[in-house]
Amino acid sequence: MIETVFFLLFAVLAAGGAIMMIASRNPVASLMYLVLAFFALSGIFVLLDAHFLAAVQVIVYAGAIMVLFMFVIMLLNLGHREDIDMRSHLTRLVALVAGSALFAFVAALVLRGEQSSLASDESGLVLDAILRSRGAVGAVAEPLFTSYLVPFELTSLLLLVAIVGAIVLAQRRAP
């Protein structure tokens, strides 16, 4: 019961934040609504027993990426737009139809899949047992540092390349 209440709360926050993000005039306000949606998603991760990912979500998205976006908005001095940078009414209508169609399609897939659901009751019990024996972090760390060790190390390489690439791209060219 309490889980359902919290889920509804977080779902409304996430959906509302997402809609306000694309409707807001001010880029800074847009970013704040996006961060609200990220926090709400992190709460939903907790409800789905992914505690480690909930913490990473707050640290990486609501922390690091938010600061990065805010820094760029402030650096480019975009924070005080009065006119909204939306496209024409026709494009807005097309976007509304396309978004609704996409949502309806995926939601129909979910509702159809409900009858032949992948999730059985035993799998939930198995997950509970794993979480209880290893803890939320250990349960994710065990496959990460055994089966997926090479991709994990490659991720560090990717981040290094991204840092160097960002510096190279954003530096001023020498005159």
Binding site: L41, A50, I65, A95, L102, F103, V140, L144, A170
Partner: protein, 101 residues
């Protein structure tokens, strides 16, 4: 009860992805288009977390990798936006036509 939350989370993720798509189509500010892409990545992450409950915790490892790639992508993408801003004095995606034709 739990199954209800899982299905509702899948539908929420579909909704967030659709909103992100609509945002990419509607907005002209490159930074907000970028935020919409991040929202779509998060919607997919939510789907993966839901499926990790029935298909194994490897899905959560995949979410971890998606987050790392999204962080790298945000850093490089924002650097590109800064470089383009210096060139065009704006971040309107309609004016970025250097690679067109």
């Amino acid at each position: 009860m739990n199954l209800d939350i899982e299905n509702a989370a899948l539908i929420l993720s579909a909704f967030l992805f659709a909103v992100g798509t609509a945002g990419v189509l509607v907005r002209r500010n490159a930074i907000i288009v970028f935020m919409c892409v991040e929202l779509m990545l998060n919607a997919v992450n939510l789907t993966l977390v839901v499926f990790s409950r029935s298909l194994g915790l490897e899905a959560q490892v995949l979410v971890f990798f998606v987050m790392a790639v999204a962080a790298a992508e945000a850093a490089v993408g924002l650097a590109i936006i800064i470089a383009i801003f210096r060139h065009y004095e704006g971040v309107d995606v309609d004016r970025f036509n250097l690679l067109r034709w």
